[in-house]
């Protein structure tokens, strides 16, 4: 079932949680709402689920008006960050709940309920826990039960609010892959909220990047990562080096040196150049369009080597492969030349608004 969100706005007192959001989620897609805390992503998810009412705009399910539909009539499955399992019910009864509260005419028989619940528990590989209570399960098990419970009513849409947020890294990775498989098997539309860019990029078909109650960019994981629409997206989706520069025609001045300007759409004037740490090469000899810098520190981090360099007053971070680092054999205090492979330039007017993110 497709979801259509048109002009949805929501305020909490003076705080604008959502500002005129338009979003179309086609049938069968797995969409991630990605953004920092307070960006409105959870509010948007709760509005889709009918747990929060929008101040303006409307929500359509499969083209049909759903803005004023009560949560129980929306037929969406909702998975909560802290699971929200019914603690006085066994795992079996938790999953059966949605079937048992159906109107008499729609309610499946006891045998049918039993069969469907056990099928779902097998699907989440926890059928051996059917008679346990939630307090006897681990966090990862609870989250899988919460998912099975949401799926029991055969929802057309599955909504997940930071589904892996409360779990530790290893379990989180495992469940992520498992969610992807599950989504593909169930043929439903899924929307999940996360603040973890890696999670969004790995799992989703499409990523919706949000900030300050607005959508910054919608695109495939590859699109939003390699072609960010705004400085915010650039900074939010990974480490980044920011250069203050001036754009002249086809060139962007960075410091005293010129850097190739690859993005031809960038306008004239004061600008900022963004370069990912792994998009910079280090050479011992001067290269055309290169920047001179001094090596400050070298850390080996797992498969990568992170080099911190000083260029004028700016600190620049570069990530090299181990092989490349071995070849270069960098030492502290050494002067080298930097050559960005890929640069993205944004006008200062846009960038001035955006502070923070994970860049330098």
């Amino acid at each position: 079932m497709s979801i259509e969100i048109c002009g949805v706005g929501k305020r909490f007192g003076n705080f604008v949680a959502l500002d005129n959001i338009d979003l179309h989620i086609p049938t069968g897609e797995l969409v991630a709402l990605l953004g920092p805390s307070g960006c409105g992503k959870t509010t948007l998810l709760r509005i889709i689920a009918g747990m929060e009412s929008a101040d303006s705009g409307n929500v359509k399910f499969a083209g049909a008006e759903a803005t004023h539909l009560h949560a129980r009539e929306r037929k969406v499955g909702f998975v909560f960050q802290h699971y929200a399992l019914f603690r006085h019910m066994t795992v079996f009864e938790n999953v059966a709940f949605g079937l048992r509260v159906k109107a008499k005419t729609e309610r499946p028989s006891e045998a049918e309920i039993r069969r469907r619940v056990m099928d779902l528990l097998k699907l989440v590989q926890l059928d051996w826990l059917a008679e346990r209570y939630p307090s006897q399960l681990s966090g990862g098990q609870r989250q899988r039960i919460a998912l099975a419970r949401a799926l029991a009513v055969e929802p057309k849409v599955l909504l997940l609010d930071e589904p892996f947020g409360a779990l530790d890294t290893k379990v989180r990775k495992e469940l992520r892959r498992w969610l992807r498989r599950l989504h593909d098997e169930m043929h439903i539309s899924s929307v999940f909220v996360t603040h973890d860019q890696e999670e969004a990029l790995e799992v989703a078909d499409r990523v919706v990047v949000m900030n300050h109650g607005r959508i910054e960019q919608i695109g495939t994981p590859d699109e939003v990562y390699s072609n960010p629409a705004s400085p915010f997206v650039y900074q939010f989706l990974g480490n980044v080096n920011v250069f203050h520069s001036r754009v002249h025609g086809n060139w962007a001045d960075v410091g005293r040196d010129g850097v190739d300007k690859m993005d031809n759409t960038a306008p004239e004037g004061q600008a900022m150049a963004f370069v990912r740490p792994h998009d910079i090469d280090i050479e011992h000899v001067q290269v055309a369009g290169g920047l001179e810098a001094m090596v400050q520190d070298v850390h080996a981090i797992g498969p990568l080597v992170r080099v911190e360099l000083a260029h004028a007053s700016e600190l620049i971070e570069v990530e090299l492969t181990r092989e490349r680092a071995t070849v270069l054999n960098l030492v502290k205090g050494q002067c080298v030349w930097l050559k960005p492979r890929q640069v993205k330039v944004f006008k200062v007017a846009e960038t001035a608004l955006e502070e923070g993110g994970s860049g330098i």
Binding site: M51, E52, D55, A71, R72
Partner: protein
């Protein structure tokens, strides 16, 4: 906010909300507010002068004095033993702890009449110590000492009950830090423990005090109802009421009702204070906390 708003998943329909609020408020009105109003209405039924006249009766004044005396007398005992019990239970592990907690609750469960009878059986004329006491001319039952003892019995749990959960929640780290910094036991208690529990302690004392002033059944059994001597205010209310002196009975009752209102106000203020302190503790930034210590 825009017009046709969606009903939240966690709310009842409006008609039901209003109905339930109506039922709840009506119940509280008939069972709490109306009786409270009636006390003052009946007390003033004969006009102000009759009311004041009734209060000025020497026996009434004596009853007020006796009630306050007993309440004040038991307070230090309750504080000391309550704090001691809470300290032992909240800060240490030992066998039989849950049994001890249950035993502390016992006075809440026993009927006041039974409490009175128990002390009558011990100190009364035919009681266990009766002959010995009368031989030495010591009067406990049908005299002030007996009334104090039953009040101690009845009010024993209040302070400890209030402090045990509070002190358990606070843990023992602060006290351990004080000891590790070289504080003596008394230093630790006055400077660390007491400031942390002061509002909880006050809360317990307020509740115990209300009960001490209002106790009827237990005191009634051991007082002997000697007018102008062993009559507390609640007992005095009974006597006047049984003599069909409604104005007198309700005048005395209104004094007790006023004390009850004072109790409620004090209790509410202490509750606010406790809530405010836990809230500010949660919101103080580490930096500010450091600065304020300097």
């Amino acid at each position: 906010m825009s017009a046709p708003s969606l009903r939240m998943a966690t709310a009842e329909p409006r008609w039901l909300r209003w109905t339930l609020t109506g039922i709840g408020l009506a119940f509280l009105f008939f069972f709490l507010a109306l009786p409270l109003l009636a006390v003052f209405y009946e007390a003033l039924a004969g006009g102000w002068s009759a009311y004041l006249q009734a209060l000025k009766e020497p026996e009434t004044l004596h009853a007020v004095g006796l009630t306050l005396f007993i309440a004040l007398f038991v307070m230090p005992f309750n504080v000391m033993v309550g704090v001691a019990a809470a300290w032992a239970i909240a800060k240490f592990e030992f066998r039989g702890k849950s049994l001890l907690i249950t035993l502390i609750d016992l006075p809440f469960a026993v009927s006041p009449v039974v409490v009175g009878l128990v002390f009558l059986l011990i100190f009364g004329a035919q009681g266990i110590f009766g002959p010995w006491l009368s031989a030495h001319d010591v009067k406990i039952v049908f005299a002030l000492p007996g009334m104090v003892i039953v009040t101690l019995f009845i009010t024993f749990p209040f302070v400890a009950r209030e402090l045990i959960p509070l002190m358990q929640a606070q843990g023992r780290e602060e006290e351990e830090a004080a000891i590790s910094l070289g504080a003596t036991g008394w230093n630790m208690f006055w400077r660390v423990t007491l400031p942390n529990i002061k509002w909880g302690l006050l809360y317990g004392v307020i509740l115990a005090n209300a009960r001490a002033m209002g106790e009827f059944g237990a005191v009634s059994v051991v007082s002997g109802h000697i007018r102008g001597e062993t009559n507390t205010l609640p007992l005095h209310v009974e006597i006047l009421y049984n003599e069909y002196n409604a104005v007198g009975a309700f005048a005395s009752a209104s004094v007790l009702a006023l004390l009850a209102l004072v109790t409620l106000v004090a209790k509410t203020l202490v509750e606010w204070q406790m809530r405010r302190e836990t809230e500010t503790l949660d919101t103080v930034l580490p930096a500010e906390a450091v600065r304020s210590k300097e």
